[in-house]
């Protein structure tokens, strides 16, 4: 029986590995779902709205494959940064721009709003990661149980 299970496993793995797109596709879908859940978890936030818009747009455009990302001109960080030396200003501007890119909807946020949104986004991400990790471990445990019970 175990051999049967192993053979089946191997064959299934073969089939699954052959259908790479299936796995990746599934993973991507799950990721989209995860991000949607993330956005839903903090509804009122600017980044949440931006994330949702981005996801919906991507889903909508996914079929035709076009990547229409309306990049709003990012606020020049030099305006946002306080007093700094010249190099420092450039450094800071670069970092702020990087942060703007990371946080959804951050491109059109000024520095103080950006930090606010970042803080909230970080919190939501932490929560999301916890949930997903718990889910994954739960499922893993269940599978292990199933295997142990001679499934």
């Amino acid at each position: 029986m175990e051999d049967q299970g192993n053979n089946k496993t191997l064959s299934l793995i073969k089939t699954s590995t052959s259908s790479n797109s299936g796995f990746l596709e599934r993973g991507r879908r799950i990721k989209v779902a995860a991000e949607m859940g993330l956005a839903e978890s903090s509804r009122g936030r600017h980044w949440s709205r931006a994330l949702r818009d981005r996801l919906l747009r991507r889903i909508g455009n996914g079929a035709c494959g076009c990547q229409k990302e309306g990049l709003t001109p990012s606020k020049v960080a030099e305006d946002l940064v306080g007093e700094e030396g010249d190099d420092e200003v450039i450094e800071m501007a670069r970092k702020l721009r990087a942060l703007q890119k990371l946080v959804p909807g951050g491109e059109d946020l000024a520095m103080d709003r950006l930090f606010e949104e970042t803080a909230d986004y970080v919190e939501a991400l932490q929560r999301q990661v916890n949930v997903m990790r718990a889910l994954a471990s739960l499922l893993g445990m269940l599978e292990k149980e199933k295997r142990l019970m001679g499934g």
């Binding site: 496993t9 599934r26 779902a33 007093e83 700094e84 010249d86 970092k95 103080d112 932490q126």
Partner: protein, 468 residues
């Protein structure tokens, strides 16, 4: 009084000496002791209490020596019997026992005191320690404000500094009442803070003093040096809170002190350009012309000594303070950000952290894809134990599996109902089984490695198994 010094800590004997020798603050001690006695769950006799307090202070000393700053949540001061966790508050305080009783600590980073004899030198120290112990954490921000802690964050700095000042003159008042007075008397007090502070203008102010010429950006920089000292007097309450964000600015402070016009940000230029002329003349007059601000405004900016009060600079200052507040917030969120004080470094940390969190989400979603290849969350609740042969619905419809993940988790956690979930997984796995993958992934997860490591390992394993 027993003198049992905990190993490696401040010998309570010191404190005992102070405790018993105290002539003037005797009344303080009595009131403090009475408040200790009245604190909940504290029903032990006096000597034991004193012991506990000494132990408490000793622990504070040791904690302080470790230079550790605990997160803000440790503000909660517990009654004597529970282990004290006043790390943060006392670190801020202990750093400067020398200044007069009413003066606030000056630096955001407590200077680790290797020599604990400073404790004994301060007769009021034990009293303050006792007072600390009687807080039951009701008024966190005011409590933090008592010691002018920068991490108080939410409490405006003017009120924190002046609430600290309020400690000095008032002796036996209950802390809570004092804190409330402190907060209500917000604007009024700040000017009075400046006097003792300037009186004790010390080395501590040096760090903040450097930031001052820079902070008064609207004022002509030529006069920065003249008024640097009186400015520094007013600044510690705020500088203490903002020193980390001003650390970079202080570097350019000297340059700005010499230059008339700082070239840096355009916004500032507008403000400085328009106000440089006025600010210079206003400076002398502003020093004494501090009218009490009407408390009705919710955005309160007090013009500090020597600073121009035109709207540009005020707005700038408000903005900067908001930004530094937010950065503090972020600092608390991002692990390991407490030690760094530079804006740029912190930004780096934040960016790294956000990136890693995003990657984690991605990785976990991929992992979930392997773990439950055909799990249909929408139908989990409908499953019955008998339904072993139910084939799972297509995965494509579970576009939002995680929306119901919470329900799934709670559902599956109940033992009697875990079976259907289990069965679903069973069915799913029978049709498309990826056991070796799962086992390796599960092991990685079970190890609970720190996110960076577990990340890399598990993802590489996924890749390996996937290509095998």
């Amino acid at each position: 009084m027993n003198c049992r010094p905990p190993p490696g800590r401040l010998p309570p004997c010191f404190l005992n000496l102070n405790w018993e020798q105290s002539m003037d603050p005797t009344s303080h001690f009595e009131s403090a002791l009475s408040s200790i006695v009245s604190s909940p769950s504290s029903n032990s006799p006096a000597p034991a209490e004193r012991l506990a307090v000494n132990n408490f202070v000793g622990r504070l000393g040791s904690v302080y020596n470790s230079g550790e700053i605990s997160p803000q949540s440790h503000y909660m001061t517990t009654p004597l019997n529970s282990p004290p966790k006043l790390n943060l508050s006392m670190t801020g305080y202990i750093g400067h026992p020398q200044p007069a009783v009413g003066s606030p600590p000056f630096s955001a980073n407590p200077i680790p005191i290797a020599h604990l004899d400073q404790f004994s030198a301060d007769p009021g120290f034990a009293e303050r320690a006792a007072r600390l112990s009687c807080f039951d954490g009701r008024n966190y921000s005011a409590f933090a404000g008592q010691f002018g802690l920068p991490e108080a964050g939410k409490l405006s700095r003017s009120s924190s500094s002046q609430s600290l000042k309020a400690i000095g003159p008032q002796t036996g008042l209950p802390e809570r009442g004092k804190a409330k007075d402190a907060e209500s008397g917000n604007a009024r007090e700040e000017s009075s803070v400046s006097d003792p502070v300037s009186a004790s203008g010390e080395v501590n102010l040096k760090g903040s003093g450097e930031t001052n010429p820079r902070r008064r950006k609207a004022a002509p920089k030529g006069r920065g040096k003249d008024t640097a000292l009186p400015n520094s007097a007013m600044d510690p309450p705020k500088a203490a809170a903002e020193e980390d964000s001003n650390a970079k600015r202080s570097r350019s402070a000297e340059d700005d002190g010499t230059e008339k016009e700082s070239i840096k940000p355009k916004v500032e230029q507008n403000g400085s350009g328009s106000a440089s002329g006025d600010g210079g003349q206003k400076q002398g007059k502003e020093n004494n012309a501090k009218s009490p601000e009407p408390p009705k405004d919710y955005i309160h900016v007090r013009a500090r000594r020597g600073q121009a009060t035109d709207s540009h600079s005020l707005a700038e200052r408000v903005r900067r303070e908001k930004i530094s507040q937010r950065m503090k917030l972020l600092q608390d969120l991002v692990p390991g950000c407490n030690k760094v004080n530079g804006k740029a470094v912190m930004l780096d940390e934040i960016i790294n952290y956000v990136q890693s969190l995003q990657r984690q989400v991605e990785f976990l979603s991929m992992k979930l894809a392997t773990v439950n290849p055909r799990l249909d969350f929408n139908n989990v609740a409908n499953l019955l134990p008998k339904d072993m042969h139910q084939t799972c619905g297509p995965v494509s419809n579970s576009v939002y599996p995680l929306e119901t993940s919470g329900a799934v988790l709670s559902y599956a956690n109940q033992p009697q109902q875990g079976a259907p979930f289990h069965c679903v997984v069973t069915n799913a796995l029978e049709t498309e089984c990826m056991n070796p993958l799962d086992s390796t992934l599960y092991q990685n997860l079970g190890n609970r490695q720190p996110y960076v490591n577990g990340f890399g390992d598990a993802s590489s394993q996924v890749n390996n198994c996937h290509h095998s």
